[in-house]
């Protein structure tokens, strides 16, 4: 059989095989084009962060740096923006907010899902309505309350604010409880376990997938939160966090992009590492968080 005949036969068996290959190529072309635009802003930042001041001043922005081992910009950004302290503050905030947020929302979801009592529906709706209120709109009056409570320039105050307003985690836990059989609780109670025991010893360990989801979603939003940090942690020398310290670059160093890009990369790297490790959980968490609507 000649190659031409073979081809013809194949074509008869799979009509549009050639077309399929063309479509595949077009698909890849579209994806590569999209990935290019998704990555190029970040890549340009990486290129710039490794340039010496001389290179930065005299070469085109997309020219690669001579050495990929020139770390002076990173060092400069780290020191000038007080990034060491910012990371300490941010991780402290993350640790406290995440632990409290998970405890608070899972406990609330437990009560709302397991117990029938007057006001159950009302409380659910109160939380639901709270999620409609755009956060920034509210800060005008939240500021006044924080001011009266003496919680301006206070890490605990900021932490309290972040853990108090999280409706999405409550919904993720509520959803998860719906799929946890009540018979688990019942048999434990029959064995003489208290409700505290049921929650902490039996259900909490079973909530692990939901906890991971909340950790990722809440963790990323807390780490990236800027507006409230700027508003309530005003003393930027004592209470800088990662996002607010980044903003200090817009002042005197506003056009020195070699420093700025280095600073941006320093803050992005922890997120990148977490993303690469937990990719699957991140995607799953996002889909779970979306169902709430």
């Amino acid at each position: 059989m000649s190659p031409a005949e073979k081809k013809a036969e194949q074509k008869a068996e799979h009509p549009g095989r050639g077309r399929k290959i063309v479509i595949r190529i077009l698909e890849y072309a579209a994806l590569i084009f999209a990935a290019f635009w998704a990555l190029i802003p970040v890549v340009s930042c990486v290129i710039t962060a490794f340039k010496t001041p001389d290179e930065y001043a005299n070469t085109n922005v997309m020219t690669l740096p001579k050495s990929w081992l020139y770390f002076t910009n990173f060092q400069g950004a780290w020191e000038k923006a007080n990034m060491g302290l910012s990371f300490v503050n941010s991780f402290l905030i993350l640790a406290v907010v995440l632990v409290c947020c998970i405890l608070i929302s899972s406990m609330l979801a437990f009560v709302l899902n397991r117990f029938k009592f007057r006001g159950n529906g009302l409380i659910r709706n109160l939380f639901l309505f709270a999620s409609l209120v755009p956060g920034i709109a509210m800060q005008v009056t939240v500021y006044q309350i924080m001011y009266k409570l003496g919680l301006i320039n206070s890490l605990p105050g900021y932490m309290l604010l972040l853990m108090g307003t999280d409706v999405i985690s409550i919904y993720i836990f509520l959803q998860f409880f719906e799929n946890l059989s009540v018979s688990l609780d019942e048999s434990a109670i029959l064995d003489g376990c208290t409700y505290f025991g049921v929650f902490f010893k039996i259900l909490l360990p079973l909530l692990k997938p939901a906890i991971v989801t909340v950790l990722i979603l809440k963790g990323v939003s807390t780490y990236n939160e800027y507006y409230m940090a700027n508003l309530y942690l005003q003393d930027k020398t004592v209470y800088p966090v990662v996002s607010t310290c980044l903003y200090t670059f817009s002042g005197p160093m506003g056009t020195q992009y070699n420093f700025i890009c280095a600073g941006v990369l320093i803050t992005v790297i922890p997120i990148l590492i977490i993303f690469l490790i937990f990719q699957k959980q991140v995607y799953r968490g996002l889909a779970a968080g979306a169902v709430k609507g």
């Binding site: 529906g121 409609l132 006044q144």
Partner: protein, 328 residues
């Protein structure tokens, strides 16, 4: 919503009382903190916001009751209500973003070689801090920098290129574009999640019947994920109304890029006109609540599935059919 938990198992009547007591204790203890925080940081400020919106006041000092004057200002001042028009740019961006997200999600749901890389590349911008995104795009759009370099390398002349962030004809489009850049991947991942739940067998059956990709998309994928698409579309309206970060960080609201929230932030925290800012917040919140009610109505009528997997419309059609049969 009242029917939330099942009744406890029948236990001896003596211990039943202690279980009831325990339930009550746990209910109170577990809810006291979240409810306290909810009232302190949501409902108290909410009430105050409505109260403040009728006063001429700053954060400290005397306040003067002025009735509806703040609300009249919201609609008549030249810098406030027109700022809402800018959200049209972000809405258009959101529609384009959703179309692109659907397009890429369809490709990446199948087993494509290198799919994980493309997924990751498109999604990662979502995880970057808003301030960092701001810097990245300030650098990207500055005259003669990244975008201009890319365009000159494919033949454009630098002197013919506009100032992306200063030219009032295009700067809002560029800012909405950064929003698309940031959220496209997130949207795509949500669509992929929805598409995965569409039954694999249906696709195979369609393939045997000789359906092409376009037909498969419109008659199988789309019906399967329409809930997600409609909800996202409506959510994007409220998102666009409250667009804030791109103009705040990249242009600081200059050159006609100040969205409603950027203006509100300035009025509240720079001009310290707390009353006016509160009125602005109330007006926007009413708009957002209207949009959300619309979303709830739409999703209830068209998309809410009951236990049997039928939507309200389907159930009604079914009822009618049964009634007609009964009449016979």
């Amino acid at each position: 919503m009242k029917q939330t938990g099942k009744k406890q198992a029948p236990v001896h009547t003596t211990s039943l009382r202690s279980i009831r007591g325990q339930q009550r204790l746990v209910t109170v203890l577990f809810m006291i903190v979240p409810l306290f925080l909810l009232i302190l940081f949501t409902y108290l400020p909410f009430a105050k916001m409505i109260q403040f919106s009728f006063f001429n006041m700053k954060y400290t000092g005397t306040r003067r009751f002025i009735g509806w004057q703040n609300y009249i200002s919201v609609f008549t001042r030249s810098d406030i209500f027109p700022a809402l028009k800018l959200s049209l740019f972000y809405m258009a961006g959101a529609v384009i973003q959703m179309a692109l997200a659907l397009f890429f999600a369809t490709m990446l749901t199948g087993k494509l070689k290198g799919g994980a890389f493309f997924k990751g590349a498109l999604f990662f911008p979502y995880l970057i801090c808003g301030i960092a995104v701001g810097y990245i795009f300030k650098f990207f759009f500055t005259h003669g920098f990244v975008l201009d370099t890319l365009l000159t390398s494919v033949g454009f002349k630098l002197q013919n290129l506009p100032y992306w962030l200063k030219d009032t004809r295009i700067n809002n489009i560029m800012l909405a574009g950064t929003s698309v850049w940031r959220y496209l991947g997130q949207n795509m991942i949500m669509f992929i999640g929805a598409m995965m739940s569409v039954d694999e067998d249906v696709y195979e059956a369609a393939m045997i019947d000789g359906a092409n990709a376009w037909q498969k998309f419109w008659s199988i994928t789309m019906p399967g994920i329409k809930t997600m698409v409609v909800l996202n579309l409506i959510l994007s309206i409220s998102g666009s109304l409250s667009a804030f970060e791109p103009p705040y960080v990249i242009t600081n609201g200059t050159f006609g890029t100040g969205t409603y929230f950027v203006v509100m932030d300035r009025i509240a925290h720079v001009n310290l006109k707390v009353g006016l800012a509160s009125a602005m917040a109330v007006v926007l919140m009413i708009l957002i609540i209207l949009v959300t009610v619309l979303q709830k109505v739409v999703s209830h009528l068209m998309l809410d599935e009951d236990e049997t997997g039928h939507t309200y419309r389907e159930r009604r059609a079914e009822k009618k059919r049964q009634a007609a049969q009964a009449a016979k």
